[in-house]
């Protein structure tokens, strides 16, 4: 389990670089990732408790039982509003530090988040992420992709980061559901495993991946082959946008078999590939599909892409 939203290492930067090569038109994300990482490091020095490892344990039989019965492990995850505010302030500080121009939009962002948290009794639950994204996009001039990434980074770092040791132990082999076994979120992207091209869906929040049949819609669960299809963009072999005509949803799949020619690394980062292919999302919206995850990372109304 390895998620760009939680971990920051050289490996992430290398993957970022390779993604630029794989997806022409996408730019390096290293700077923004460095800003996020720097904010986290600074905060860690000031306030150790926020990211302190939580020794979460579940007896292995109980864990297997949950997985077998398709029960989500953390169905109602939430974090303290005050931690969200502190973390957000640290990130904003980092952003503003070198460019005062960002001060105002980020002040609006913080005010918007504070209002939201005050309404929710200073508690931020996972299910409120898409709601808060909509609120911020509506109230500020910030871009939807930036806001979504920011909130996922904050929530994931605060809740799933400290439980990382436990997440490493979760074996999803017996999971048959179409949502994440750990946090219950609906997936937005997945990958085809290198050796046999078996399909795995990956959670955009906690990074858990689980196997899911190739010929089944991960949203409406139809197995009607003629209802499903995919498109590639400019014959890109690594990313394909799959869709279901029955529920009109789309999802992205990264083919690690095709990615092998770019790297000898075994663990590719689907979350990084997702960030580098947000323009594919926009094309899917233009083609009349909506994201099955419910998370609309980009706006359809932006410049026309198709034709």
């Amino acid at each position: 389990m390895y998620n760009v939203f939680q971990v920051f290492q050289q490996k992430v930067l290398d993957e970022d670089k390779r993604c630029c090569e794989v997806y022409p038109g996408s730019k390096n994300l290293d700077t923004l990732l460095l800003v996020f990482s720097q904010a986290k490091e600074t905060l860690k020095e000031q306030n150790e408790d926020i990211f302190k490892r939580i020794d979460y344990k579940l007896p292995s039989e109980e864990l297997q039982e949950k997985i077998r019965n398709s029960e989500v492990i953390f169905p109602d995850a939430d974090v303290e509003g005050k931690h969200v505010k502190i973390f957000l302030a640290a990130i904003c500080d980092e952003l503003v530090k070198n460019n005062k121009d960002f001060e105002k939009p980020l002040e609006h962002l913080q005010a918007s988040v504070e209002d939201f948290l005050a309404e929710k009794n200073d508690n931020f639950s996972q299910s409120q992420i898409p709601v808060l994204v909509e609120k911020i996009v509506e109230e500020t001039l910030l871009e939807r992709d930036f806001v979504t990434l920011l909130l996922i980074f904050i929530f994931s770092s605060l809740y799933y980061g400290p439980r990382e040791d436990f997440l490493e132990e979760v074996d999803t082999t017996l999971w048959k559901g179409n949502t994440c076994p750990v946090c219950g979120e609906t997936p937005h992207y997945g990958f085809l495993r290198g050796e046999d091209r078996a399909r795995f869906m990956e959670c955009w929040l906690c990074g858990t991946s689980w196997r899911y049949p190739r010929m089944k819609c991960p949203y409406c669960e139809t197995e009607e082959q003629h209802e499903m299809g995919y498109f590639t963009v400019d014959e890109n072999k690594v990313c394909r946008v799959q869709f279901c005509q029955e529920c009109k949803k789309y999802w992205k799949i990264f083919n690690w078999d095709a990615y092998k020619k770019y790297t000898e690394e075994e663990d590719a980062l689907a979350s990084m590939h997702h960030l580098h292919t947000l323009h594919f999302d926009k094309l899917a919206l233009k083609e009349g599909f909506s994201p099955g995850s419910g998370l609309k990372w980009v706006e359809e109304k932006d410049n026309g892409l198709v034709n």
């Binding site: 920051f8 700077t31 490091e41 460019n99 960002f102 992709d145 046999d196 399909r199 082959q225 498109f231």
Partner: protein
């Protein structure tokens, strides 16, 4: 990990009004850039099928674009082959394609795409529809059975059978399908029943 000044300049360098934070948003640049060059979408579908070569019956995923096969791979979800294919099955794409002199794949003109019929005594194949084929097969089975049906044998024992027909099962079928075929053969009075896996 320190944030390099050069990196941050790159981040902020293009932010003029800074009102939208586009330059900060991860895909801000790439979305704009992506929108400015023409993109070509290629649609395709995946369909499952079974390898035609041997009785193992490995599952295959075909990628089809505009009714034409563009790729074939082993189906990873099949319990039979778990994504793998033997060298013969792995080249099944070449049932549809052959290679011209320069190595470019072209549609195989020898591939049968319609049922062909050769009448008794004829030296020519004729194209027929699937309906015609099915009706003809059914009629001939029925006629052969009816004209050769024995209710009793030479000793007067009731047998209700025909020895003029034989039935061959297939390894491509499941146990349950072969069970039903067997029942059907028995119901018609066929006693010569065998299975391709024994041949």
């Amino acid at each position: 990990m320190k944030l390099s000044r050069r990196g941050f300049l790159k981040l902020t360098g293009t932010a003029t009004a800074a009102a939208t934070l586009t330059s900060l948003s991860l895909q801000g640049d790439s979305v704009v850039e992506a929108s400015s060059y023409p993109v070509r979408l290629s649609y395709a579908k995946e369909v499952t099928s079974i390898c035609t070569f041997c009785g193992v019956g490995c599952s295959i995923l075909y990628h089809v674009r505009d009714g034409v096969i563009i790729n074939a791979e082993g189906d990873p979800d099949s319990p039979v082959n778990e994504g793998a294919l033997c060298p013969k099955g792995g080249s099944i794409y070449n049932l549809s394609y052959m290679y011209e002199e320069k190595g470019k794949p072209v549609r195989n003109p020898n591939r049968l795409t319609k049922p062909l019929y050769r009448a008794p005594g004829s030296d020519k194949w004729e194209e027929k529809s699937w309906d015609w084929m099915m009706e003809t097969i059914v009629k001939r089975i029925k006629d052969t059975r009816d004209s050769n049906f024995e209710t009793v044998d030479k000793n007067g024992v009731t047998v209700n059978r025909t020895t003029a027909l034989a039935w061959l099962g297939s390894s491509y079928c499941t146990n349950e399908e072969n069970y039903i075929f067997h029942k059907m053969a028995r119901a018609m009075g066929i006693i010569n029943i065998d299975h391709c896996a024994r041949l």
